[in-house]
C-alpha cells in the first residue's frame, strides 16, 4: 500500500511544479501578439427595401499582395490620400517605420474585415507598445508632425442593386491624443469607440518595446516584399534628366540585405516576343540606384524586375519617353496620352497566324516616328577580315555640311509637304463629292 501512496504523492507534487513553472512563463503581454496569415478586406450590402433593414456580408479578398496598388489608385483620385501616400513612400524609402494589421469588425450583426497600414516618416517615432486595455498599439507623439499616420482600407458598402460590386475605400488620419493604431488585440482588450471583434498583426517594421520579462513570440517585422506585379510604386521610382535615367528601388537597405534582392533594369524593344528578357538586360544590381545614359531620344520600354531569394520574380513595366525634358515618377511623368499608350500596350499582340500579315507592317509604322530618332550603327561581318561598322550619318552630316544639311532637310520637308498638301486638297475635294464612293486602304 505504501508504494502507490508515495507514487500518487510524487505525481501530485510533480504536477504542481509543472503548473507553477508554466504559470511563471506567462508574463504580461505574452499572448497579445497574434499573427495574421494575410490582409483580408470584405464589404457588406444593405437591403433598403426590407423593414427592418437587412444586412448581408460580402466575401473577403486577400490584399496582402496588392494593397500598395490600392493605395496608389486611391491616391490618384483623392488629393488627401495622395498626400499620405507620398509620405508613405518616403517612409518606406527613407527608413521610416510602418506596419499592417488585420481588423475584424461587425456592424448590425454582419462581420467584415478591414486593413490598417500605419506609418511614420520619422524613424525615431515612439516605439510600438503593449497596452493591457488595447493590446499592441502605436501611440502618438506630442509633436503630431512626426506622429503616426494611418490608412484604413475598407470594403465596399453596397445596396440591394449594387450588392458587393464596388471598389475599396481608403481613409486617412493622423493619430492625435488618445488615438491609437491597433496592431493586435489582447484577449481582454476593451476598445471604447468601435465595434472590433479582434485585430491581428500582419507585420510591424518598427522598434517594439516588449514588456519586461516578455516571453511571447517575436513580432513579424517583414511583409514588404509582396506587391502587385502591375504596380509601379513602391517597387521602384525613376528620374529622367535629359538623356539620363536613374532608377531607385523603394525597398529599404535592410530589406534588400535580408531578401538578397537583385534589381534589374531592362531596355527592350516595343515589339518583344516571348518572355526571355535576359538578352535585353543592360544593368542588374543587387543594390540600386541604376543609372543609364541613353544615346538617342525616343520611347523606351523599361522593365524593372526584382527576384526574391526564393526565386520568385516581380515585374513592373513602363514606357518612358526620353524627350530631353526632366521629370520623375513621383511628380507624375505620365500624361494622359502616355497613360492611354501604356494601357494600349497591354493589349496582347498576336504574333502568329494570319493577323501577322496586317499587324507586322502596322507595328513597323507605329515605330517609325521613334525609329527616325533612334539610329544605331550597323555592323556587317566580313569573315576573316573582321567586322565593318557603318556609323549613323546624321551627326556626321551635321558636322561636315553644317547649314547645307539643314537646307537639304528643309527642302526635303518642303517638297514632300507641298506634294502631300496637294494630295490632301484633292482628297478632301473628292470626299466632298457626294457621288464619290472610293475607299482607300493601307497598301500592304
Amino acid at each position: 500500500m505504501k508504494k502507490p501512496a508515495i507514487l500518487i504523492l510524487f505525481s501530485a507534487l510533480f504536477s504542481v511544479v509543472i503548473m507553477a513553472t508554466d504559470v511563471a512563463a506567462v508574463s504580461y503581454g505574452d499572448d497579445y501578439y497574434v499573427q495574421s496569415d494575410g490582409l483580408n478586406v470584405s464589404g457588406r450590402w444593405i437591403d433598403y427595401t426590407k423593414s427592418p433593414l437587412e444586412y448581408h456580408p460580402c466575401s473577403s479578398t486577400d490584399i496582402s499582395g496588392s494593397y500598395v496598388s490600392i493605395l496608389s489608385k486611391a491616391a490618384k483620385n483623392d488629393p488627401a490620400v495622395d498626400e499620405y501616400y507620398q509620405s508613405f513612400l518616403r517612409a518606406i524609402k527613407n527608413d521610416g517605420v510602418w506596419g499592417a494589421a488585420q481588423h475584424h469588425r461587425q456592424y448590425s450583426g454582419v462581420e467584415y474585415d478591414e486593413v490598417i497600414i500605419a506609418f511614420s516618416e520619422d524613424p525615431n517615432t515612439v516605439p510600438i507598445g503593449f497596452n493591457s486595455q488595447m493590446g499592441i498599439i502605436a501611440t502618438p507623439l506630442t509633436n503630431t508632425n512626426n506622429s503616426w499616420k494611418m490608412f484604413t482600407i475598407k470594403g465596399f458598402v453596397g445596396n440591394q442593386t449594387t450588392r458587393c460590386g464596388g471598389d475599396y475605400t481608403v481613409t486617412v488620419e493622423t493619430l492625435g491624443a488618445n488615438q491609437w493604431a491597433i496592431f493586435s488585440t489582447s484577449p481582454t482588450a476593451y476598445v471604447s469607440h468601435g465595434d472590433w471583434l479582434w485585430v491581428k498583426t500582419y507585420f510591424i517594421n518598427a522598434p517594439i518595446n516588449y514588456p519586461a520579462g516578455y516571453e511571447g513570440k517575436q513580432i513579424n517585422k517583414t511583409g514588404v516584399v509582396k506587391w502587385a506585379s502591375d504596380s509601379l510604386t513602391p517597387a521602384w521610382s525613376y528620374a529622367v534628366d535629359n538623356k539620363s535615367l536613374t532608377v531607385n528601388s523603394l525597398l529599404t537597405d535592410d530589406q534588400i540585405d535580408k531578401y538578397q534582392i537583385d534589381v534589374c533594369l531592362f531596355q527592350i524593344p516595343n515589339n518583344i516576343q516571348g518572355d526571355n528578357f535576359n538578352e535585353y538586360v543592360y544593368d542588374c544590381k543587387s543594390r540600386p540606384p541604376i543609372e543609364h545614359e541613353f544615346e538617342q531620344l525616343g520611347n523606351y520600354n523599361i522593365i524593372h524586375r526584382v527576384q526574391t531569394v526564393d526565386g520568385q520574380w516581380f515585374d513592373s513595366a513602363r514606357v518612358l519617353n526620353i524627350d530631353g525634358s526632366t521629370y520623375n515618377s513621383t511628380v507624375g511623368s505620365a500624361g494622359s496620352n502616355k497613360a492611354i499608350l501604356d494601357s494600349l500596350g497591354k493589349i496582347s499582340t498576336n504574333t502568329h497566324g494570319l493577323s501577322n500579315i496586317i499587324t507586322a507592317p502596322l507595328g513597323l509604322l507605329a515605330n517609325l516616328p521613334n525609329l527616325a530618332n533612334s539610329c544605331a550603327p550597323v555592323t556587317a561581318p566580313l569573315g576573316s577580315l573582321g567586322n565593318i561598322t557603318f556609323p549613323c550619318m546624321t551627326p556626321i552630316y551635321q558636322e561636315k555640311l553644317g547649314n547645307l544639311f539643314t537646307i537639304w532637310q528643309i527642302v526635303l520637308v518642303g517638297v514632300f509637304s507641298y506634294r502631300m498638301g496637294l494630295a490632301l486638297f484633292q482628297k478632301i475635294k473628292n470626299i466632298s463629292s457626294p457621288n464619290d464612293d472610293r475607299i482607300e486602304v493601307v497598301n500592304l
Partner: protein, 106 residues
C-alpha cells in the same frame, strides 16, 4: 506649328490609332488564327517569319533614314498623311453610305 511637329502629341496619336487598328485586327482574325494554329501549325510558323522580317527591317530602317538625312518631322508628316487618308476617308464613306441607305428607305 513647329512646336506641334516637335512634340510627341502627333507621334502619340499615330501610335494610338495604329495600336487600335492592331487590336481590332487581332480580334477580328482571332477565329481564323485559331484555325490555322490548330490545323496548319507549320503554316502558322511560316507566317511568324513575317514578324521576324519586319523586325529585321526595323533594325536597319533607322540607319537608312539617317543615311538619307530624312528628319523625324518628315516621317511623322508622311505617316500622319497616310493615316488621315485611311481613317478619315473610310469614316466619311461610312457616313455617305448610311445617308444613301436612309435616302433609299425614305
Amino acid at each position: 506649328m513647329n512646336d506641334v511637329l516637335n512634340s510627341n502629341f502627333l507621334d502619340n496619336v499615330i501610335v494610338m490609332i495604329l495600336q487600335i487598328l492592331t487590336a481590332i485586327t487581332n480580334v477580328i482574325l482571332f477565329p481564323i488564327n485559331l484555325l490555322i494554329d490548330s490545323l496548319f501549325p507549320d503554316f502558322s510558323a511560316a507566317l511568324g517569319y513575317i514578324t521576324q522580317f519586319f523586325d529585321l527591317v526595323q533594325q536597319y530602317l533607322a540607319w537608312v533614314l539617317s543615311f538619307l538625312g530624312i528628319p523625324a518631322v518628315l516621317v511623322t508628316l508622311v505617316l500622319a498623311y497616310y493615316l488621315f487618308s485611311v481613317t478619315t476617308t473610310l469614316g466619311v464613306w461610312g457616313v455617305k453610305l448610311a445617308l444613301k441607305w436612309i435616302g433609299h428607305f425614305t
